[in-house]
Symmetry: C4
Subunit: 196 residues, 4 copies
């Protein structure tokens, strides 16, 4: 019952953050409404879709894993609540670096900011995940452990790509996208939400 | 229980996307606050209501059908989750082409973008729908099949109108609107959500 | 179960529309960050709070009445769904006239637009309410009937104030505010949501 | 059941308001997309994170306490509903002073507005809390009373810091931040949402 309210509040933040991403894709601001100007402006705006897709996939995966993680939680105590709010803080912030990266493309500062937020996301997620395991709050350790292995991989790749972004922003943004795409395709593997 | 969380996350995205549409209707930006300037600016803004209404009806219908589709689902496994997230990706993006079409009117590029997104919506919806049928995950095949017939109709009409928009953008936008209106009036027919 | 999903989707739109209202209150756009300029700009912005408060109270009341209305509904069929989506269409649109009225103050066109949307809200709400009664879908006719009496009062006052706004916009806006305030204070009277 | 709908509507407003905060962090508006200009602009924008973090923590705490408060409520009657809507009115407004304070920094008027809204938050929360106690609607008086002690502390500190902000805006903003941080760390202490 109470776990349900924590889950439903978290689901609200996940669903809302994922939907707010679209506001970061710029509507072209043209003085006149003619197709000659609008066509190239829209094509340019569609270049913003790479960070949009990366962030959508990332929030989608975190939502899915959050779901699975809390499924095996029996007690929601103080530290879990605090760590969960820290995770939601980072999730709710994702639309900002997404909009910056979309608007200015893969510059060192925009790519670094984006990577830094994804790194923070990995850290807060791992902290919550480790806490839940350590307190032996979980029923299904195998599921969590396999989740953590993949998670640690990300925890190392994201900060590495973030540092690299200061010299090779385009390569880093490509890595962010490919990681999200990889996670997106594999995140649900083996999940049966009814057996879960 | 777990199916419920997938449904509630999806409902969240549907409800937010449908409410975010209003941000695409532009508040006039005038230097002075006098009625002589505001009146024509507001009348112009109300012309944006056709794409607003089309998108509202479209998301409303997809929500209704999603509801009915998942009602007959018994197991939510990996592919269903992935296809569902793809559908939500398109739904969450709808406010963008709606705002562009509202702001610039029926130009070839704005009408094409809008139609292309509706076409993608039809494709992801059909993919999810076919997957659910093929895996024989559904209890109520007749309901799904009749839904698919109407759906396939849309799947052909939307891309056709999208292609036509490059020459006849106004006609295409009218077709989008009429299709949404038609679906809106017929979508719930025969539905009794309590017997469902 | 299914009624629950209609209610939760509606609650999402209500909660989201009520929260989006804040985006209509303008953050002052000043070139420099000094208090001499910010202070009058903020005082001016607080003048926008009258439409903000009016809309907040209005959506809050409609949510409360919607809650009560659906509590007594047993079957959610096609027409109820369609009328409910029409009501949500108007609710989701409220942030727009609120932002216009807040930005430009009580001019004839801004006050007329605002009043027209509240009138539409009354019409769609009354239509849903009458439909539910006529189909004898309700358990608790007395509650609905008393709700309808108050509702009809609004249904007459809103269009009258809307028409009057073309000459006396300030008076109309005051009436909108007082009506919302009156409904807000009396809306829950006699409600006991547990006995409901 | 009905209490659940009040809680879920409230949770929606909390979750949306907390996620909307990110729109107050400004995406830099530069004419050209080069790193020399974007880097300082982003560093400047990150200065906006103090009010963002303060508001996030504040809404998170109020959500947590709201949760706990309603857990012990048995009947939701008229006054509780009205006071709850008043609390939500203030919560939904928080993104506005947060955006102003983020954009213009700690000036007297921006710090005063922010503090005044937090003071109103304390007042509406205390009013709801006292009402619930007075009507003896609560099962668990000790939990509420300890919550109120901390709450009264805030009720005095916030208006004091708000008044002080007219002379010492930076100090006041620091106090707002430290208070939120303190509440955030202690808010869940002793909470076990399953035993609750």
């Amino acid at each position: 019952m109470n776990k349900a309210r924590v889950e439903s509040f978290s689901d609200g933040v996940f669903a809302f953050a994922i939907t707010l991403l679209v506001l970061g894709v710029q509507v072209p601001e043209l003085a006149a409404a003619n197709d000659e100007q609008l066509r190239p402006a829209l094509l340019h705006a569609l270049g913003q879709l790479v960070p949009y897709l990366t962030s959508f996939a990332t929030i989608g995966i975190i939502w899915l894993n959050h779901h699975r993680m809390f499924h095996s939680v029996e007690r929601v105590e103080h530290t879990t609540l605090t760590l969960n709010l820290l995770l939601l803080l980072v999730v709710a912030f994702i639309p900002y670096p997404t909009a910056v990266l979309g608007r200015y493309g893969a510059l060192p500062s925009s790519a670094f900011l984006y990577g830094a937020v994804l790194t923070l996301l990995g850290i807060t997620y791992t902290a919550l995940s480790i806490h839940i395991q350590r307190k032996q709050l979980s029923r299904n350790k195998t599921v969590l452990r396999s989740g953590m292995l993949k998670n640690f991989a990300g925890t190392f790749t994201y900060p590495a790509a973030t540092l690299a972004s200061l010299r090779y922003p385009r390569i880093s943004v490509t890595i962010y996208f490919l990681l999200a795409f990889f996670y997106f395709l594999t995140a649900g593997r083996g999940t049966n939400l009814e057996e879960g």
